[in-house]
C-alpha cells in the first residue's frame, strides 16, 4: 500500500505541475494509524497524505461542495472502484460540476474495518504499520500482528466489481485485488425466508438501536438532496429524533425508498453506522427486487416502467411459502 501511496503522490505532483489540478481530495493520516480522514490537500502540500488499509471512506460525495465554484480550478478526487459508482450517480443527477473535477481511479485490494479488529479483543492501538497483508499493531498492552484479509470491511467482503466508472484517468488499477466470491444477496435471501414475525423481530431489534444521527444519510451518495425531507419542517415528516419505534421504521423505510433504484450498493451506510445496524440489507433488498422483477435497466427503476411490469400483488405471491 505504501508503494501505491507514494506513486499516487508522484502522480498528483505531476498533475499539479502540469496545471491540470489545483487541489486534491484524498486521505490524511490520523492519530492512531487507523483513522485516516478525508481531507483536501491544497497548494501542492501533501503532508500527511496517506492511502492505506483504512482509506475506506468514499470521497465522491465531497465533490458536491468541492466542485461548486468554477473559480477554484479542478479538484482531483481519488476513487476506488466502488467509489466511482456513487460518483457516476452524482454526475448523472447533476449534483456535481463534472468539469471542475479530475477523477482518478486508484487500485483497491479491500479496506480494513478497525472496529472488527477491536472487537477481536485488541485494545489500546496506538500505531499501525502494514507489511503486505499483515498489519502490525502497536498497542498500550503490547504488539500484535493480524492478517488484513480477516478484518475487511463488510462492503469489501462482497466486493462485486472492479469496474471504474466516469473516471478521467485510471492509475495503476491493474493492482486491484480480486472481487469477492461471496454472494451479496445471501444475507437478504436469508431474511426473506424468515416468517413475517421473525422478520419483524429482526428489524425491530436492529432499528431500535438507531440514534438518528443521520450518518448513513449524510454519507450516502444517493442521499444528495439539498434539503432532506426529514430536515424540512414543511414536509410533514421532519424529525430530529426517533420518538418511538414507528419513527425508526419510517426513517429507514423512506430512506430506502428514496434511494431505491439509485443506490449503488457502496456499503457506506453500514460502515458509518455507530450502532452497527446492517442498513445495507435494506438497500440491497431493493437491488435484489429490481433485478428479479425488472431485470437490468439503464434507468433507475422507479423512474421508468414497462407496460408488462408485475402487479404489486406479486409481493403476496412471492411471500406465500413463508407465512
Amino acid at each position: 500500500m505504501q508503494m501505491i501511496a507514494e506513486k499516487i503522490k508522484e502522480k498528483i505532483k505531476e498533475l499539479t505541475e502540469n496545471g491540470k489540478i489545483s487541489r486534491v481530495m484524498g486521505w490524511k493520516k490520523g492519530l492512531y494509524g487507523y483513522d485516516s480522514e478525508p481531507f483536501v490537500f491544497e497548494n501542492g502540500d501533501l503532508r500527511d497524505f496517506t492511502y492505506d488499509a483504512f482509506s475506506g471512506a468514499n470521497l465522491c460525495k465531497y465533490m458536491i461542495a468541492q466542485s461548486k465554484n468554477d473559480g477554484d480550478g479542478k479538484i482531483l478526487v481519488l476513487l476506488k472502484p466502488c467509489d466511482t459508482w456513487g460518483f457516476e450517480l452524482l454526475d448523472k443527477e447533476h449534483r456535481i460540476k463534472r468539469e471542475n473535477i479530475y477523477a482518478l481511479g486508484i487500485p483497491c485490494g479491500g479496506m480494513v474495518d478497525i472496529e472488527k479488529i477491536k472487537k477481536s479483543g485488541v485494545k489500546g492501538i496506538t500505531e499501525i504499520s502494514e507489511k503486505e497483508d499483515t498489519l502490525i499493531l502497536k498497542t498500550m498492552y503490547g504488539e500484535k500482528e493480524v492478517n488484513k484479509k480477516d478484518y475487511l470491511l463488510d462492503k469489501c467482503l462482497v466486493c462485486s466489481s472492479k469496474e471504474y466508472k466516469d473516471c478521467d484517468e485510471l492509475f495503476m488499477t491493474d493492482l486491484c485485488g480480486d472481487t469477492a466470491e461471496y454472494d451479496r444477496f445471501e444475507e437478504v435471501e436469508k431474511l426473506e425466508k424468515l416468517s413475517s414475525s421473525e422478520k419483524f423481530e429482526f428489524w425491530r431489534s436492529q432499528l431500535e438501536k438507531c440514534i438518528r444521527c443521520n450518518a448513513c444519510r449524510n454519507v450516502c451518495p444517493a442521499c444528495s438532496c439539498v434539503k432532506c425531507v426529514f430536515d424540512n419542517d414543511n414536509s410533514g415528516v421532519a424529525a430530529k429524533a426517533n420518538a418511538n419505534d414507528f419513527e425508526e421504521n419510517l426513517f429507514h423505510i423512506i430512506r430506502a425508498f428514496h434511494v431505491c433504484g439509485r443506490c449503488v450498493d457502496c456499503g457506506e451506510c453500514s460502515r458509518v453506522c455507530p450502532q452497527n445496524i446492517p442498513l445495507h440489507l435494506l438497500n440491497r433488498k431493493y437491488i435484489k427486487d429490481i433485478k428479479e422483477l425488472y431485470g437490468d435497466e439503464d434507468e433507475a427503476a422507479l423512474l421508468t416502467f414497462t407496460t408488462e411490469d408485475k402487479e404489486p400483488s406479486v409481493v403476496y405471491e412471492r411471500g406465500k411459502n413463508n407465512v
Binding site: 490524511k28 492512531y32 483513522d35 491544497e42 465531497y62 489500546g124 498500550m140 449524510n218 450502532q275 452497527n276
Partner: protein
Amino acid sequence: MYKLPFEEINKLFEAVSLNTALYVPVKKNDTVVYEKYSENTIYAYDELNTVKSAKDFFFPQVQDIAQFKLRGKSIEIINNEEDYESFAVFGVRACDAKSFEILDKVFLAEPADPYYKERREKGVIITAACEKPDEVCFCTAFGIKPWEPSGDVSVWISGGYIYWQANTQKGLELTGKIKDIFNACEENEIEYFKAQIKNICGKLPFGNLDLKYFKETDEKDIFSSSVWDEIYKGCLGCGTCTFVCPTCQCYDIRDFDNGKTVERFRCWDSCMYSDFTKMAHGNPRKTQKERFRQRFMHKLKYFPMNNEGIYSCVGCGRCVRSCPQKLNIVKVAEAFSHD
C-alpha cells in the same frame, strides 16, 4: 468498602434491583447499550463504554413536556407529570460520571430543568474503574481519574473480585440495603489496582492532550484562526459525535399531533445540522465550517469561559470512535497545539 467474588456479580445486581430499577451495560445486537437488569442480563464488563453515553438517563433523547388538547376554540394544557421511578445505573465510567457535573451546570442552574432535576435526584450512579483504558481515552487530560471514578458508588473489578465503595449519601443508603451480600474488605485492598490503572493511563497517547492554546488564546483569535478552514472539510454534517457525546446538551422542542392532543416534546439536536440555530431570517452559521467550529469552540472555549475553566469534554473517546470519517476533538486540539 465491600467486596464480592466477581462470579457472583448477578447476586449484587439482584440485590440492587430489588430496591430500585437497575441498568447495566450489555452487549446487544452488535452494540453496547444499557439494559434494565433482569435475570438474563450479562454485564458487558470488558466493554469500556456504551456507544451512547449515560446522559440518556437524565437527559433522554426524547422527553415529553406537555400536551395540548384542542376542542373548538379552546386549548387545554396538560403538563407532563410523569412519575419517575428511582433507578441505579451500574458501570458508569469515570468520564461519564464527570459529564453529569457538566450537565448539572447547564440543567440545574436556575431556572433548573425539572425533568433533569428529578431524574438526577432519583438516580444512583454506580461507577466502575477502567481496568483497561483504550487508546481513544483521554479523560486524564481533563483531570479525571479513571482509577478513582466519582459517582454515588464506585466499584473496581479486579483480581476476581468486585469492590464496592459508597461515596455519597445516596450511595450509602443503597449500600445499607444490600450490604448483607458482601464480604468485608480492607480499604487498602484496591490500592494496587488503582496504581495499576494509573500506570496504564500514563500510556494513553493523548492522556496529556495539550489544551494550552485554547486556555490561553483569546476566543476571537481562535474563532478567526485559519486552522478551521482546513480541518472541517471531512465533516459530513451528521450528528453522530453530538449524539454519542456525554456532554452535548442541545435540544429542540417539537410538537406532534396524535389525533387527540398535540404532544410537545423535546429531543436532542445537533449543532452539526444545517438548520440548527435557524431563525426567521435564516441561519447565522451558513457553512459546515462554522458549525464544526461552533461545536469545538463551545466545548473547549465558550463553556470553560463561563464555567470556571471546566471544559465541556470528558475525554470519553466516543466521538473518536464513532465519527464516520474519523474527525474528532483530539484532532482539533492537536491541530491547534501545533499551530
